[in-house]
Symmetry: C2
Subunit: 374 residues, 2 copies
């Protein structure tokens, strides 16, 4: 029995201005057209070395353990926590949005004793707030989101927070899903212990890989665990054995996704990180100014507003979801609803990677203007 | 600072005749060229419905919980075990090769009390052996590999084994990584509780997705857990909420990989499962005959020899690894070494999906003939 009736793929061409995925550069799509090689092919293993160099460049680190995991950003979050946490460990999670909540939930699921400190959505922590929480108990690690995708706020003072964590004997796990490749992430200078990200945001590759980097301090904690890592799939020691000289089989990594991520990283490296940050910021500022003019002013104060992802207040009397759907259906533009408590009151607008272009800002603002005035 | 010196991608064109990934049909590569849409885009959510229909077709099931997980086959294995097992559960693993070992290791890592029964590599179990092991203790589940990628043996009698498991109150978790889409996998008729696979073998898509299907019986066990699933990333209830009508955000699935898998499944459906199985078997038989003539006879007896993946004995006096490397370097043909104890004594040759073509069999045998006679 054959089964027919499934039409040719006919995917719409979206202008992706949501919280990710962002748009994929034609060079990245082209790289994915290369027929895949095997997961132990010498060519792919050589490519990993280049990919590692490029990942170290964007993470601004020399960490030996710097890989791209075969999963989405959430797999990076889970890997960071699952490799460090053993049952009964005390963990402090500083939560300023949904993804901090998610870290706390995953840590609790791993058997950690989780303490939370919390700021309202759109706010960030002071160093003092975090330092005083760290002083209350001996924590194995502090988990924190650098760029909250749910609120558009950038947690500042990461170097000072890392220093406070280390002073109190805790490691710092930093979620850089929406910051890496969009704003500075200085893993070594800031002394972050584990940072992870996702391929489909500022890096501009399709989703499916999670870049991660692990400090020597964190690596030693992992090496000295008393219990095995509960996840075989996300076991970083096994990753190190596969990416390292032993090239020990662990799982069948996707050559296609690595072709794409390497090309996306190469685009970042060619443009230069500083230039990428400047472009991301310049287009965000254009967006912010246009939003103010539309009466949809940014939700987060300028001081810690995140250039790659803006939350914009929905003007009084406007149906947030109707406008968002009309942008998608009539203009092929994707923006996102707010998250949780902000669901009906803000939009989330991303300008990341190849989506961060002048023409996209102009188009979005013009389309919003048309819809708001009709 | 920019960073240059990384050359254009220049991937070799391999004839992939190892244990996977297999070759990718040009239509599948073309599908991946479509610019990605968002993970909540109505188009992608519609595509999931078609993908589910196609996955149910290849799994031969009506199971509501039939998805493709955002990870490789190993993530499917971990998801199957992590969603069913709670700490202290008794689990029986019937091991006839490396991937059975891996199931036992993952189950133990999840806190199960693991009992093993074992056959030598290349052998399979009788129904009686498994039934008598099931009688020894009340097991929550029996874990078993249908097609052992490490040995090339097909575990027969799955329906009888499932009946024995159910008679003893155990669920059956079946690894179909190297069987799905290559030989019959009749999830409903055999009454298998959880079966998982991988996108890059007989299905012929790039790696990165793990098809999985869950029976109503297993779904209820998952719904009634006393403890949460330790993996947030591989939590099947969250998958059901994302693929189901709620479309609740869980992770940023890769549109590119789903475009590819849907197209690969569409190719299977157009050809027809029965025809795919016949083609896979016919090309395997040609290979087996040619290997006999080369003095590299198949390792596994014909009765349970696996068409998609053949283990061939390395002829006396031949350096297994040198020949394998020469095939790769001089002919661009990938085959694999043996696994574990068989490392130096067999080759593993895959003829799966788009790799299962007459010209590939002829080429491989001719190339081997040239190398064996030089």
């Amino acid at each position: 029995m054959t089964m027919t009736g499934f039409p040719d793929l006919n995917a719409p061409s979206r202008v992706l201005l949501g919280p990710g995925p962002s748009m994929v550069h034609p060079r990245v799509l082209r790289a994915m057209m290369a027929p895949p090689v095997g997961h132990l092919d010498p060519y792919l293993l050589h490519l990993y070395q280049e990919e590692q160099s490029l990942l170290r460049y964007v993470f601004q680190t020399r960490n030996a353990w710097t890989f791209a995991l075969s999963g989405t950003g959430t797999s990076g979050m889970e890997a960071a926590l699952a490799n460090l946490i053993e049952p009964g460990d005390a963990v402090l999670v500083a939560i300023h949005g949904y993804f901090g909540e998610r870290m706390a939930e995953i840590a609790a699921g791993l058997g950690a004793e989780v303490d939370r400190i919390q700021r309202a959505p759109g706010e960030i922590f002071t160093v003092e707030e975090i330092a005083s929480a760290l002083a209350r108990r001996r924590y194995k690690l502090l988990a924190l989101v650098h760029a909250e995708t749910s609120t558009g706020a950038e947690q500042l003072h990461i170097a000072e927070i890392a220093a406070a964590a280390h002073q109190h004997g805790a490691l710092l796990v930093l979620d850089t899903v929406t910051s890496l490749g969009g704003i500075p992430v200085k893993v070594d200078e800031w002394d972050v212990d584990v940072a992870y990200s996702a391929s489909q945001k500022n890096l501009g590759a399709p989703s499916g890989l999670a870049p991660i980097t692990v400090s020597e301090r964190a690596r030693q904690v992992i090496e000295r665990r008393k219990t095995p890592v509960v996840s075989f799939y996300l076991d970083l020691k096994r990753y190190a054995a596969y990416w390292g000289e032993a090239h020990a089989y662990h799982h069948t990594a996707s050559a296609s996704l690595h072709y794409a991520l390497r090309e996306a990283l190469r685009l970042v490296a060619e443009e230069g990180l500083e230039q990428v940050f400047a472009r991301t910021r310049a287009h965000a500022e254009l967006l912010w100014q246009g939003l103010e003019e539309l009466g949809a002013s940014p939700f987060v104060p300028l001081e810690y507003r995140l250039p790659p992802l803006t939350t914009a207040r929905v003007p009084q009397g406007v149906d947030a979801h109707r406008l968002r759907l009309r942008l998608l259906e009539e203009y092929n533009i994707e923006i996102a609803a707010g998250f949780g408590a902000l669901r009906d009151t803000v939009w989330r607008i991303g300008l990341m990677g190849y989506s961060s272009r002048r023409e996209n800002v102009t188009l979005l603002l013009a389309a919003m203007r048309e819809l708001l005035h009709n």
